[in-house]
């Protein structure tokens, strides 16, 4: 009985996963990384027509959930995986997942071009986003109400900002959660007294504020040099996660991303290469 059932199982399911034709790599996760991931995919597919790379966003949390559920091959994340997420991956796939640092990002603070503020300290940013400061005059600007733009809580950018800038404190309830960093940029561009945060790649068309570690430190913008030197205080890695050690087409794709061509695209999009 067992033998027959085993044969039946193999016939029914064992080979059901074989897919003929073009090899498909699915990528899902961080909205911050979605443009970068699309550029990688476009260039790679142009050079490797036998491979299809499908990229979607949704946020780092959504991407990690998809990796755990087995509905994506690669997860893009703008924050490291949490322990609880690693545990779920271990339960389902027996691995902690492979973490691949693929780019660096300086998280920018955006203000409207008409806003005279040019720099903020980390403490001021924290006070602004936790609601302790509600008026631009308290940070050296005009007597105007601060309008806060933030991200949704499934965003890795949101989590990173909360953990590293707000030091775990909650966002002010007046902060408006936007569905993507592009939406934050658009909102700030239209709102003279708005302030937002997000990846440097989305910083076109609005002005970045210099960030100071403290009141006596000089202010820095998120340039490659400032991030590499550690002077810019809100810098982070961008990650790719896969379930198992990459092999075959997947390995070739990841090696290509970490190679000269992939890292060149990192710079083109506005992020910083890892080497």
């Amino acid at each position: 009985m067992i033998y027959k059932l085993g044969v039946f199982s193999l016939l029914l399911f064992g080979f059901g996963s074989l897919v003929l034709g073009q090899e498909v790599i699915t990528v899902k996760g961080s909205d911050t990384m979605v443009i970068l991931a699309q550029r990688w995919a476009e260039r790679y597919m142009a050079a490797h027509p036998e491979v299809a790379v499908q990229v979607t966003g949704g946020g780092s949390g959504t991407g990690i959930s998809a990796l755990i559920n087995g509905t994506t091959d690669v997860c893009n994340a703008s924050r490291p995986m949490k322990n609880s997420e690693r545990d779920k991956l271990k339960q389902r796939f027996g691995t902690r997942g492979i973490e691949i640092k693929c780019a660096q990002d300086g998280l920018s603070l955006y203000v409207n071009e008409a806003n005279p503020i040019s720099e903020l300290t980390m403490q001021q940013i924290k006070d602004v986003y936790t609601g302790k400061i509600g008026n631009w005059k308290d940070v050296g600007g005009p007597n105007e109400r601060l309008i806060l733009y933030s991200r949704e809580n499934n965003s890795g950018t949101y989590v990173y900002f909360k953990d590293n800038v707000l030091l775990g404190e909650d966002f002010a309830p007046t902060a408006q959660n936007m569905p993507g960093t592009a939406a934050v940029v658009n909102a700030v561009a239209k709102d003279k007294w708005g302030i937002g945060y997000g990846g440097a790649a989305y910083g076109k068309g609005i002005r970045e504020v210099k960030v100071k570690k403290d009141a006596v430190s000089p202010g820095y913008t998120p340039t490659f040099e400032n991030i590499k030197s550690g002077n810019y205080p809100i810098a982070r890695y961008l990650y790719m996660y896969v379930k198992n050690r990459p092999a075959g087409t997947m390995k070739e794709y990841i090696d290509w991303i970490l190679g000269d061509e992939g890292q060149k695209i990192v710079s083109e999009v506005g992020y910083f290469p890892i080497r």
Partner: protein, 456 residues
Amino acid sequence: MNKLSPFFASVVCCLHLSTFAQGVEPASKEELEELKSVVEGERESAMEYRGYVDALRKIKISGYMQTQFRLTDLNGGTAQFSGGNFPANTNKMFQVRRARLKIAYDNVLTQFVVELDAIQTGVTMKDAYLSVIEPWTQSFGFQMGVFYRPFGYEMSFSSGSRETPEQSRMYQTLFPGERDLGVKLFYSPQIGPFSFLRAELGIFNGSGPASNEFDNFKDVIGQVVTQFPLDELNAAVDLGLSGYLGNVRNATKFLWTNGESAPGTKGFVLDSSATNLGDGAPRRYVGLDVQLYYDVPVLGGLVVRGEYITGRQPGTSTAPTPAGPNGTSQTTISPAAQATGPVYQRDFAGWYVNLVQNIGNDNQVIVKYDVYDPNTFVTATDFVSGNNLSVADIKYSTLGFGFIHHWDGNVKFVFYYEIPKNEKLTSSTIAGTSPLAPFVGDVKDNVFTFRVQYKF
């Protein structure tokens, strides 16, 4: 109407903008101001709706259903630890083993959770708890209600994720229902230098999830878990140490403990001290669990889990169908209600090793071997008439193996075959009419399970 207004306003805006862009009729300053106020109004409406959406996103609904077909060797077969016994005249049956619906309101640092199980025999509550995490380090918190007891690994490994259809025999015996009513404190940092550590300590009724408390004894349960990631080796090791310190009220003055009932005859000895009435019979467990993870090239993740639990268990049954409220099991279960008979104290030990090899993303092969000895003081040759040993004292080992195919992110098919082996008693000392007579040989209780699970 309110819901439609943003749409109509957007259309109006687009028409205005379109006209403006085409330069057919340049908008006046007043028209632009009007347009600006419309846009501003709609933006405020959108923000309001976003607030509603954000609030709704905190409500999380999940669940899973396990429907299965099982087959055993004999009509009316005993398969208590393989998903339930078979009715008389039946050796094959369909079942809805579990149909869980979990609703959580997750406010990041506070949580409300209720989980129900609806199957063919009725609806029961599985989880109902709240949890609060402090906002400063977000590492400490407490949980209160009915939830998994913080002991070992397999206890809190969701049956929706577990590869084998059922828990090992020792867990089903020692912790029926897995959960209990109580409160626990926990330390579980998600990031930072101590994120490898998790500690939990709780106090519980001790009577399990399906009943109200019946004595004043409360049980203390705790565990410490450490994780050692070995990323360079594509591996990881997790270790856990657990303890259980509890008591069960003795409703009689009779307390049976392991000893020699006659010189050279191992069994139980009776203590009939009047002070035993209402006293607490100790319930003491200590457990060690290990999980090894290794990413096997080409194949996928390999998991080896092992767990060992030993201690002292107060039970009540000395016969296959004991009288009283605890007469639901042939083994020394933890009490679900006040015992009416004398308490039997047994020193026990149990362990299991479970191997899971992933094959690609969709397939898994499982092998599991578990052993449970409910009374380590005695062996098969000690079963003689007059020393009060019963089926509750028989040691079991169970070999199981199976195959899982994950159809997609929701559906999985499980094929599992389980071979329980009881220790064989000596025929010369067991009367043919004794309830122990079937255990002179290996009882025919192998079970095949085909399960389909849908999880969302």
